[in-house]
Amino acid sequence: MAECHPVAYRFVMEAKERGAKIIHVDPRFTRTSATANIYAPTRTGTDIVFLGGIINYILQNELYFKEYVLSYTNASFLVNEDFKGPDQLGGLFSGYDAKDQKYDRNTWQYDVQELQQNTRFAQGSIGRNRSDEAEGHSQQEQSGTRVGPPLRDESLQDPQSVFQILKKHFSRYTPEMVEDVCGTPKELFMEIARTVAENSGRDKTTAFCYAVGFTQHSTGVQMIRTAAILQLLLGNIGRPGGGILALRGHATIQGSTDVPTLYNLLPGYLQIPSENTDDYDLVKYIEHNWTATGWWHNMPKYIVSLLKAWYGPHARPENDYCFHYLPKINGDFSYNQMFYKMMEGRIKGMFIMGENIGVGGINARFQMEALQKLDWCVVRDLYEVEAGEFWKYEGRDPKTIGTETFLMPAAIVAEKDGSFTNTQRMLQWHDKAVDPPGDARSETWFMYHLGRRLQELYRDSTLDRDKPIQHLQWELPIKEEHLQEPDLAAVTLEISGYRVADRKPVAGFAELKEDGSTACGCWIYSGMIAPDGSNRAANRQADPIGVGYGDPEFTNHSQWGYAWPANRRILYNRASADPEGKPWSERKKLVWWQPEDQDGHPSGGEQAAGEQAGDNTTPDHNGKWVGNDVPDFPLNKSPFTPDDPQGMGMAAHSGSAPFIMMADGVGQLYVPNGLADGPLPSHYEPLESPTHNPVYRQQNNPVEITNNRKGNSLNPPFDPAFPYVVTTYRLTEHHTSGAMSRWVPWLSELQPEQFAEISPELAAEVGLENGDWATMTNVRGEVELRVLVTTRMTPLLIAGQKVHQIGLPYHFGFKGIVTGDTPNNLIAMTEEPNVRIHEAKSFTAGLRKGRRTIAPPPTDPTSSDNMVQNRGGEAGQLNHEVKLGVVDVTKHENTPVDGGMTYTAREASGQGQARSD
């Protein structure tokens, strides 16, 4: 965290000064470990075993937060009998279909109570329903209908209860297993488990922070699930100083999943309509994506408001609010699939905006060669990045590549207005300071004027398929004449939502309607524009220094920026109070129930009426939720409200059900739906691993999607040519693909060359000295690098076998002030079943002395999905001999390149004095 989010680490250091224990578990001893209280080395890709071991320690010694687990998690729910766990099926869950490598989730469902009448989704208000028969999905799958609440055993003794299943599942993860799989010494692991347990409970909380070290694995989602289960058992979710914080890497990567330029999502995490679920019309779509109980009951309002925002008057109840204008997917259109199709020439045109796949892309060489198959490609970036020069990549002859390429200059943050969403869901507005240089323009300008031109080209088309473009609400007022820059106020109003009648901003998503009377581009951002029209993302009034939780005037800096949803800073903060609404402890109180004061009228609250109360299904009680944050609970719903088994939406949840987005209102230790690779996390070895899976017979994630084609094949398992485990990571001084740091002299000089960190033992084994040139090889390619021999890397003992780990920063490419080989060429494009992410954090490679020598053969464009894995033991395909593309303007030797100011300009400033004075 100190490496890639140093400023966030301020608060960790502040906590350490107040007595907090900082535990750092990482394959490498990093700058975070330097200031940690306890550092434990571990093998990359084995986090499920490590965290599972802690869960097992807590369950065996009864150290979990009993009241919290009983009332706020689904520990007491009963699972139906025919569910079988991996310990019975050799690593698989029940319902596994080996042929097309998928799970059928029927056997994972809860035992549910019978329901008096089968209430269906009320179609009347949305529009005519094209087809009536409902397909034969599993009970729960058929979210269109309301099923009864699950059976429960409050004593948590029933073997079918989630708690007992959990206990049995994790009983396998003993400290010895952790030492065997992760390589972390047993005493060190026990020390950490004990510290975590001691620092959780009523008046202490433990927080988990993770980054792509968790996510970029074949079992990435399940690793985060394990941390979630652990935090639920310890009662750390929804409480100050608890929770799980994802340290995200880009300025608004959170924003780019909220307003998703992702293939499977519409704004606000609505699913994109799909052929596979027969979304013939809006009603069918809503039935497949709607859950009867919980807040997601309001989903129809959000999809209708979105369509209203996009197609305005054209979206009417009669034509399903132009639902059919939206494209439907029929499977996996994710990142990797895009490049497989591109390599096969099925994709003709490409936009790449602010993403440098030449270095940051996975198996970068494969992707750059895929780009060479395009007809045209538009790259927008600040600098001449590697992605823009795919047509002369690795010495390929440009005359053989016919892609028409545009490299469009982009404006940087200081040259445009706009908002970023940071890793804590907080929107912050940045003001435009200066005009962009020359023809550089912001993406707003580019998209707006591209859209205007397309609408012009399609203006007199009569085809049905061109209607979406013609009816698109695309008119934006121009703010700056000389640049023709559109005014973002209209865009932010549309995103935040407005009433169609008077274009007045809605106060929050609670005011959105499903009758087409409101329009909202992204329901979770609703409320970003306050009713008086002011942009709350531009709020810049922080709470005074020194005040903290418990002090009345502390509002969690609510007047600084705007956090979605509804400016709430800690999600599920209802869980910071016990079932009766009293804080668990004075030290860790956040939100609590304030009964109505004697004279009968509820005391007014900053909470605008529009926030939560508007939900028509919440019974009213006297009193309201107050505290240091916007309550994540209906404002006036008393904690003693009983749950209504037949009720819909929030009424189905009791007053002590903090997890309002979940169907059952409680935290999910066991996940019957939503995950593709199992209701509980179980450890599988990374796709390329030096050892067999010591935990189960099943070696890899059974539902992992791999694509063994030429140039993207996996190392043969346990291949002696590639014995070392490699993990990639980022440095403080560089930024992801280096496009924003390797052009900056001050950052380039801090980390000038590609290097890898190896332990002294490995260096002795390969015969390397500190600073020597070495080449890392595997079947996908070869990367030359300098070697940093350091005792911070630790050899591990895995199942009796000594395993070396190598750390590999991945910032370098062939353009920029400092250049180097691209490590991402060594990583295979694979897809984790739930979110389609690749496994970059653990793969195997060989290491030899000396620089790279042999040029790799170009990849063969013909697609062959069932390409046989080549068994060659030697180093497989090797990279081209890339001429280290030194930017011609600057050379490597010690000619300082001015940080943007020439001497004369510098003279005029503070320090220097003009030479001739």
Binding site: R10, E14, A15, E17, R18, G19, A542, P544, I545, G546
Partner: protein, 416 residues
């Protein structure tokens, strides 16, 4: 005057401002702490601690030429007062001309060495006795003037400029015994300050040799000065018996040089000494000693006195002393720069009882208040700057810790 002198001797015998604690009481100042007991950290990856000066050939030449000019002035003055009026006239004459040449070349060399030569006049902005370079500049300037005056007289006496003309009269008027005496003194100051210039730096060899360098350079100045004068005499055909007038002076100078060199050598710590006896500059030191000192001494005894061979040997001896003098300057400067690049050398001369050991400091500072975990650093009295409330209405961006308990308003800029 006394104040002047005492400012130079600031605290050379004990640490400044604290009662002189006897060394022994501080024994065990830095006990081997357990932390890195096993790893004896001698330096930061072997990188130099101090930075060596950028001096190259201009400074070697300046030290050498300056030395000759200094010796020549001194010997000319001594000859002027104590020498035989007629037999040592040639010494005074040669001495004046040689020192004039030196005094002309030296400033040129110094200005070449300046990285911003056009600002050389800034050197005369201040006089700092604690800065040998500042003092040296004034010495050189004054010597220039004095030598100019005396040499003007010499020129007139030699008839190059007729007496009855205005310049002639002026030259005779302007210089007399006093200016000659001052030139001698100033000359010797020039020979000394170059040594102090080196010892007043943090460069290990020079700092370690300390007060030995000044006498070394002065004696070398005398020997090279004398050699230069006797060379001039020999070349300009002075009568045979006047030729060896300066031999004893040269011998004494050489002996003094050897003594200073020996004294300096024994002052060096082993880490510094290795740069003298086992480094690329050892050959230069040997050349300085054999060619410039021992050689001429030995040669003195075995060389014929009379006739042409005597004159030839005199010339050879003078040349050897001069070349040896140059090697001495070159070796001292370059070896010094080499020690600056060696961290061990610098650490070897800066060991000592600087501060209390961690345990002593902890005891002294804890004054009873055990506070392992306070309310963190965001409590008012503990607030570091970034936890300070820096938001100021007056548009003044981040400001200094206004929250300092004592002074209410930040002490603003008192213009001088």
């Amino acid at each position: 005057m006394l104040g002047l002198i005492s400012s130079l001797f600031a605290a050379q015998n004990g640490p400044v401002g604290s009662p002189a604690v006897p060394q022994e009481a501080r024994k065990g100042r830095r006990k081997k702490r357990n932390l890195s007991a096993q790893t004896e950290f001698t330096s930061y990856y072997g990188r130099p601690v101090v930075k060596k000066p950028h001096w190259v050939w201009p400074i070697w030449l300046y030290f050498w030429a300056g030395g000759i000019s200094s010796g020549a002035s001194a010997i000319a003055t001594l000859a002027h007062f104590y020498g035989d009026k007629d037999r040592d006239k040639s010494i005074v004459q040669a001495g004046r001309y040689i020192s004039m040449a030196g005094v002309i070349i030296s400033p040129v060399l110094l200005i070449i060495d300046l990285q911003r030569p056009e600002r050389f006049v800034n050197m005369l902005r201040v006089l700092k006795l604690r800065s040998p370079l500042s003092t040296g500049t004034w010495i050189l300037t004054s010597l220039g003037i004095l030598t100019g005056l005396n040499t003007a007289r010499q020129v007139v006496e030699d008839g190059l400029v007729p007496e009855n003309t205005l310049p002639g009269k002026l030259a005779l008027l302007s210089s007399n015994d006093v200016t000659q005496f001052l030139q001698g003194l100033d000359g010797m100051a020039l020979g000394t300050y170059t040594g102090v210039l080196l010892s007043a730096t943090a460069v290990p060899l020079w700092a370690n040799a300390d007060e030995a360098i000044a006498p070394l350079f002065l004696s070398s100045a005398f020997s090279t000065g004398a050699a230069a004068i006797s060379l001039a005499q020999a070349v300009s055909g002075v009568k045979a018996d006047d030729l060896h007038r300066l031999d004893p002076v040269e011998q004494y100078a050489i002996l003094a040089e050897l003594a200073s060199l020996g004294y300096a050598y024994f002052k060096l710590t082993p880490e510094v000494r290795k740069h003298v006896i086992a480094s690329p500059f050892t050959k230069s030191f040997l050349a300085a000693v054999w060619l410039g000192m021992l050689g001429p001494l030995i040669l003195k005894f075995i060389s014929p006195k009379k006739g042409l061979p005597g004159r030839l040997f005199a010339i050879i001896r003078s040349l050897m002393v001069l070349i040896g003098g140059f090697f001495l300057r070159y070796a001292v400067i370059e070896a010094g720069k080499a020690t600056a690049d060696d961290p061990d050398a610098y650490h070897s001369i800066t060991r000592g009882p600087a501060r209390g050991t961690p345990e002593e400091q902890a005891r002294k500072y804890s004054n009873g208040r055990e506070r392992p975990f306070g309310k963190g650093r965001s409590t008012p009295e503990q607030q570091p700057n970034s936890f300070q409330s820096n938001n100021h209405a007056d548009g003044n961006e981040g400001t200094l810790p206004q929250g300092n308990p004592q002074d209410s308003q930040y002490p603003g800029s008192q213009t001088r």
